[in-house]
Symmetry: C3
Subunit: 328 residues, 3 copies
C-alpha cells in the first residue's frame, strides 16, 4: 500500500533499534545510521522500508523487491536481490509482526472509537437517528445513512451510497453508488494471530477495505480488512446476507455471492464469479474469471477461468452430478 | 397479494405508456384507452392488472389467469386464456421488473426510514431505550420491545410479542405471541436482480413478510420479503440463531430450524419439518410435511412427505449411513 | 452450578406442591413436610434439591447423586442411590422443565432488560455513545466499551477487556483481557424446547456463559447460555466472525474456531482444538485435546485426542484426501 490514511506510521526507526524487538541476531552489515522509514509487504516496499519473506510463494516479488532490509530465513536469502539486506530470524512471521506493530502500534487491536459525534455535525444529507461518526469522515453527496450506525475515523464514503442501520464501518473506502445493508460490519481486524499457549500474538492489520462502485453488501455480512494488503470488493459485485469475507480477500467485478458464503483469508477471485449459498472457499486460493461455484460447495483448490464446480471438496459439476447419480 | 399496505400503487397507467418502458413491440391490439390498474403475479392478477409469464412452471396459474395483459414470450402464448392480451417481450423478467417498478417505484431499493420517532410516542407498553418507529406502526397489547430496535413504516405487531434489541423490522406483519430475538433483520428486500455488467438491475420486491403466531425468530437471523409474493413463517415454527430465509420462502407450522440454516428463494416447506444446523435448501424446491433434514445437509431436490434425508447432496438417511459405513 | 447470580431461586417448595405441576403420581413415600430448596442437575444437586434422570448417559452422576428426589422413569430407578426418592414421570424432560420453571420462572423466556441506564452512571472508564447497563453490572478496570452496547443485569466483566459496539450481553461472566467484537450476542437462552403442536414448551435455561481470560469472540457471533449447566469458552480461545455456540457447550483453552463454525448443544471440546471455517459439530459430542477439524467438515461422532479429520461426515484427513483423489 503506497499510502495509508488509516494508520499513522510511527517511524522512522534505526534498524539497530528495530531488531532489538525481534529474534534477529546482530548483524555486522547493519550500520548504526541505517534508518528505516516504513514496514511494507515485499512487493510494495520501497528502498527505505523493511519487509519480510517467509515462504516461497512470494519469490517473484522477492526477486524484484526494492526493500532496504528483509526479515527472512537462511534458505530464502538467495532469492533476494543483492541490494536488499537479509535479516535472519528464527520466526519470520512473529518478527515481522513485531516490527509492523512497532511502526503501527494501533493496528493489532480494534479499540472502539471514542471520539464519535452525531453524524449531523458533519453531514447534512439524509440520516436516521443515533448515527455517529469519528474524525475526518468523508461522506459524498446524495448518500443516505440509517440509524444506530457508526462510521469510525477517516472512513471515506462516495456519492449516492445507501448505508443501512446498525452498520459498523472502520478502515474502509467506499466508492459511489454502493449499498451497505443493515448490521453489516466492515473493516474490522482480520482473524490473524500467531497461536501461543496462554497468550496468542495478534497480528497487525494495517490494511483497509476497498468497496468499489455499484456494489452491494448484504445484511449482517462481515468484511475484514487486510493485514498488509487491501481487502477488495469489486465493482458491481453483490454480496447477500450473512456473508463473511476474511482479510486480504480480493473479489473482482460483477460477482454474485449468495447468502452465508465464507471466503477465507487472502483468496483472490476474478470477475463474473458466481457463488451459491453457504459455499466456502479456503484461504490463499486463486479463483479465475467466470467461475461458477454451486451452493454448499467447499473449494480447496485453485480454479481456472470458466470452471463450474460443486461438492465438498468441489469438483467439476458434471462429475459431481454423475457421481451422485451412480451413487443413488 | 390482494392488498398491499407496504407499497403504494402509483397506477393506473395507460397500457401504451407502460410498454414504452419495456422491450415490448407496439401491438395493434392495444387500445389507447386501455388502462392498467396494477401489476400482479399471474395467479393473483385481476381483470384490470398486468402480469407476466416467463416459465412453464406456472402454466396452471397461466391457464386460469384473469389478467388483462401478460408479458410473455411467443412459445408461451398458447397457455394464456383468450381474454388475456399477450405482450411479447425479448426479456420477460426484465420487462416485468420494469413494469413492477413503474407501479411500485420504492420497491427496488430499501431506503432507511427517515421519519422515525421514539417508540414511546406511539406505544405505552414495555420498551427499552432508543427504540424507534416509523409511520402507521401498530403494536399489540402486552408486547415488549427491547433497545436500539427500529420498526419501520406500516409494520404490524400482534399482542404479547417479545421483540429483542438491535432488531430491524420493515414490510412485515407479525401475529401474536411471536418472539423476535436480538439483531434479527426482518423484511428487507431479497437478493434478487438481473445481472448486467457494470450495473445489475435490482428486482422489485413488493411482497412482505408474514410471521404467524407463537413462532420464534433467532438472534442475528435474516428474513427477506417476497418479490411478488409473501415470505411466510408458519405458526409455532422456531428458527434458531443466524438462520437465513430468502425471499418468497414459505415455511409451514410446527417446524424447527436449527442454527445457521439457509433456505434459498421461493422454496416451500410443509408442516412439522425439522432441519438440523447448517443445512441448506436450494431455491424453488417443495419440501413436504414431516420431513427431517440432517445437520449440514444440502437439499437440491424436492422431498416428499415424511422424507428423512442427510448428506450433500441430501439422500435418504439410511442410505447416507450405509454409504458412509462402507466408506470408512 | 453451586451458585447462580443470574436467576433468583423462588424456592423452597413443599414436594407435594411441586408434583402438582407435573405428571408425577402421588407417592406414599412423599411426606407432606418434605421441603425442596432448589432444582439442580443430577451431578450438582445437594441433599435438599430435586433433580431428574432421563437417559442412561448420566448413570455415573446418578449413582453418586446427593439429590433428595429425582424425576425419572421406571427402568432408571435402579441406578439411583437408596437415599434418593424416585419420582416416576410419564415425560421426564417435560416434568423436569416444569419444576425448573417453578423455581426459576424467568429462565424460560428472555425478556429485554427494562431498567437500563447509561453506562456512564456506573463506569467511568472508556465508553462510546449510547451504551447501557442493567442492575448490578460489574466492569473491571481498564475495560473499554463501544457504542450502542447493552449489558444486562448482574453481568460481570473483568479487567482490561474490550467490548465492541452493538454488543448484547446477558447472564454472562467475562474474565480479564477478553475481547468481544461488534454485534456479538452473548448469554441468550438456548434453542431448547419440547416440541408440541400449536405451542412448543420452552425449556428453562438457568445456566450462564463463562468466557475465560484472554479469549476473543468474533463479530456477529452468538453464544447461548446453558440450560442446567454453564456454556464455557476457555482461556486464550479465539472465535472468528459469525460463529454460533449453542447451550451447554464447553470449549477448552487455546482453541481456534474459524468463521461461521457452528457447535451444537452440550458438546465438549478439549484444549488446543483447531476448527476450520464453516465446520459444524453435532450436539452431545466429546472432542479431545489437540484435535484438528478441516474447514467445512461435519463432525457427527466423538473424536479422540490428536485426531485430524475432514469431510462430511468427518473422517481421518488422510482417508479424506485419499478417497477424494481416487474419486477425481
Amino acid at each position: 500500500m503506497s499510502e495509508n490514511i488509516f494508520f499513522k506510521n510511527q517511524g522512522p526507526f534505526a534498524l539497530v533499534e528495530i531488531i532489538k524487538h525481534t529474534s534477529i541476531d546482530k548483524n555486522p552489515n547493519i550500520n548504526s545510521s541505517d534508518l528505516i522509514k516504513n514496514f511494507n509487504s515485499i512487493g510494495q516496499a520501497s528502498s527505505t522500508d523493511i519487509t519480510f519473506l517467509h515462504s516461497n510463494k512470494y519469490l517473484d516479488d522477492a526477486k524484484s523487491t526494492k526493500a532496504y532490509a528483509c526479515i527472512t530465513k537462511n534458505e530464502l536469502i538467495k532469492y533476494l536481490p543483492t541490494n536488499c539486506l537479509p535479516l535472519i530470524s528464527r520466526n519470520v512471521l512473529l518478527d515481522a509482526a513485531k516490527v509492523a506493530e512497532l511502526f503501527y502500534p494501533d493496528s493489532t487491536i480494534d479499540l472502539p472509537c471514542m471520539n464519535l459525534k452525531p453524524i449531523e455535525k458533519i453531514y447534512n444529507g439524509s440520516c436516521g437517528i443515533n448515527s455517529f461518526v469519528g474524525s475526518n469522515v468523508v461522506i459524498g453527496n446524495g448518500t443516505i445513512i440509517g440509524s444506530n450506525t457508526v462510521i469510525e475515523d477517516n472512513v471515506i464514503i462516495g456519492d449516492n451510497c445507501i448505508i443501512g442501520s446498525n452498520v459498523m464501518i472502520k478502515k474502509t473506502i467506499i466508492e459511489s453508488d454502493v449499498h451497505i445493508l443493515d448490521n453489516a460490519i466492515i473493516g474490522k481486524k482480520g482473524f490473524g494471530f500467531l497461536p501461543k499457549n496462554h497468550y496468542n500474538f495478534r497480528y497487525p492489520h494495517i490494511g483497509y477495505v476497498l468497496i468499489k462502485k455499484k456494489s452491494e453488501i448484504g445484511a449482517s455480512s462481515t468484511i475484514d480488512r487486510g493485514s498488509f494488503s487491501i481487502t477488495i470488493i469489486g465493482e458491481n459485485t453483490y454480496l447477500d446476507n450473512q456473508v463473511h469475507i476474511a482479510h486480504n480477500v480480493k473479489i473482482g467485478k460483477n460477482c454474485i455471492v449468495a447468502g452465508q458464503v465464507g471466503i477465507a483469508g487472502s483468496s483472490v477471485l476474478g470477475d463474473n464469479v458466481m457463488i451459491g449459498g453457504q459455499a466456502g472457499i479456503s484461504g490463499h486460493l486463486k479463483i479465475g474469471n467466470n467461475v461458477q461455484i454451486g451452493g454448499g460447495s467447499g473449494v480447496i483448490n485453485n480454479l481456472p477461468d470458466n470452471s463450474r464446480v460443486m461438492g465438498y471438496p468441489a469438483k467439476n459439476i458434471r462429475k459431481f452430478i454423475k457421481d451422485n447419480k451412480s451413487n443413488d
